[in-house]
Amino acid sequence: MAKSIIPIGPYHPLQEEPEFFTLTVDGETVVDIDVSIGYNHRGIEKLSEMKTFDQSTFVIERICGICSTSHPFAYTRAVEDIIPVEVPDRAKYIRTIIGEGERIHSHLLWLGLAGHFLGYNTVYMWVWKLREEILDAMEILSGNRNNYAMFKPGGVRRDINSEDIPPALRKIESIVPTLNKLKKAIIDDPVLHARLKGIGILTKEEALDYCALGPTSRASGVAKDVRKDAPYGAYDQVQWDMIVTENGDVFDKVVVRVLEMFESVKIMKQCLENLPPGEIDLNIKNIPPGEGIGAHEAPRGETFHYVRSDGTNRPARHKVRAPTFMNLPTFKATVIGETISDATIILASIDPCYCCTERMSVMNCRGKKIYSGEDLVRLSQDKTKLIQKKMGLK
């Protein structure tokens, strides 16, 4: 039977990010998928090597607009791992608060987009309205709705004033009743059940084989969370549960994210109420030669940073691994066998962020000739001549 190829990209019409999916379809069913990325390479790792350790945090923050705390969190942990130092307790708590606030707004953003992808624009509007409250709370706590500029190697840049805590707490707690309603509305909506249950199943074995991370793996029953496995910040000093579901379909990924938001509210509340007094910064002056690693459980999964120092005030090497890099290959297991109409939501179900992922792309030329710039110009000119000849032009 003849197979057709459906290209999605290089600019995804729905997710509005540069990536390219090649769906090979047999009728309505997807039989193969190929993903190519590398359209959005910005040279951030190199740029970070040109800035000082302190300035790099601002570049790292701009890897992704949504994970604007996850990357600095992992980076500062990597730099602190070089020395190594333990940041003051108050800084740990503030970091945790900012990290969890980001998780709530990222999950809400994804939930709204998922509703939009499914044609549920009510969910989209409702959820994004809810997200405003969290962004307002973040503005009170950090001074900005996004790109918080709070992190620095050795601590945090800004303290949280005690008079700002009650209004921020009120804002954060105000989302819980609406979130509860939303949870019920999503969990027993018949249309969402029909659209999401049993779609794009990632089994536990597959999740382990593909090394899936974050909510993608936790929805498949793999209890993996850096915050629990290797506690950092204040995560071991507060009470919270890891959300794990068993089915691995898109519906479970929604459920994991919705329930995780309640845990994040719980963590933020405990941290804000028990903010320990003391210093917020170690004032690190010199970074000795060495290498360090840092990880943080970003909303999408584990973000991993590697930093090498040669004793100067700039990183000698900085490597970033974003969670989407690990979750992307799971499409091979989830999309194949589903219909094209379901592929849209499955491709969005891992909460992909291609801007985070685009660190470096290597094109495998499989032993074929590598064209130089001149060759490409010549090829193009040859083609023009060929067309002119075909059309009977001179």
């Binding site: 302190d54 601002f58 570049v59 001074g143 900005n144 500029a149 309603k181 027993d188």
Partner: protein, 204 residues
């Protein structure tokens, strides 16, 4: 099956009856929270022109231009508002009790011409009395002299500039002569002229 529909219907009716959630921005001005990190603004009285903010700025949004005209020497501090990311590093690094440059609540930064997207302040510059090269801003030398107290009397550059700012001694004229004499050692000098005058006059 029926219950969820009723719940959603109540929500819809509530939304119908309530006011729009969005703000009426152009009609009603937006007032950000006092904690909001907006555009950094120089305080011309407090700033000493030490360039610490320029050093730490991660996006090179702060620059300076030295105008070493002997009649009116000045340093122009420039803040490019279009490249600024409002991180607050300048405020954190400010030596003048973090008052020289401060993040404001200003968020309305739209402009038509990129060349206008900058704010400048002028600081009086202290020139070397021999070669006429800029040393530092007058306020900066005064700040150092006040900071180190009586130790500033070990450096003529510091104590003269301090005494001048207090109005105790008159302004000296800048001499064009490049011959270093013994008396040159008691003048306001740049680092190079101080070394030259010390080296050439100490052996005599």
């Amino acid at each position: 099956m029926k219950l969820p529909k009723i719940r959603e219907l109540t929500e819809a009716i509530k939304a119908l009856l309530s006011k729009p959630y969005t703000s009426k921005f152009p009609k009603k001005p937006h007032i950000p929270h006092p904690n909001f990190r907006g555009q950094p603004v120089y305080n011309e009285d407090k700033c000493v022109g030490c360039l610490a903010c320029e050093q730490v700025c991660p996006v090179e949004a702060i620059d300076h231009r030295d105008d070493a005209d002997p009649s009116n020497p000045k340093r122009i501090m420039i803040h490019y508002t279009d490249t600024c990311i409002f991180c607050g590093s300048c405020e954190a690094a400010c030596i003048a009790d973090k008052e020289g440059i401060k993040l404001s609540n200003e968020w309305d930064l739209a402009f038509f011409d990129r060349k206008t997207a900058q704010e400048t302040i002028e600081k009086e510059l202290q020139l070397c009395e021999i070669c006429g090269e800029p040393i530092a801003c007058k306020d900066h030398l005064k700040w150092i002299a006040e900071k180190i107290g009586e130790l500033s009397y070990s450096s003529p550059t510091l104590y003269f500039s301090h005494l001048k700012s207090l109005g105790i001694i008159d302004d000296n004229l800048i001499q064009a002569s490049r011959d270093y004499g013994r008396s040159d050692r008691v003048k306001i000098l740049c680092a190079r002229c101080r070394r030259e005058s010390t080296l050439t006059t100490s052996s005599r």
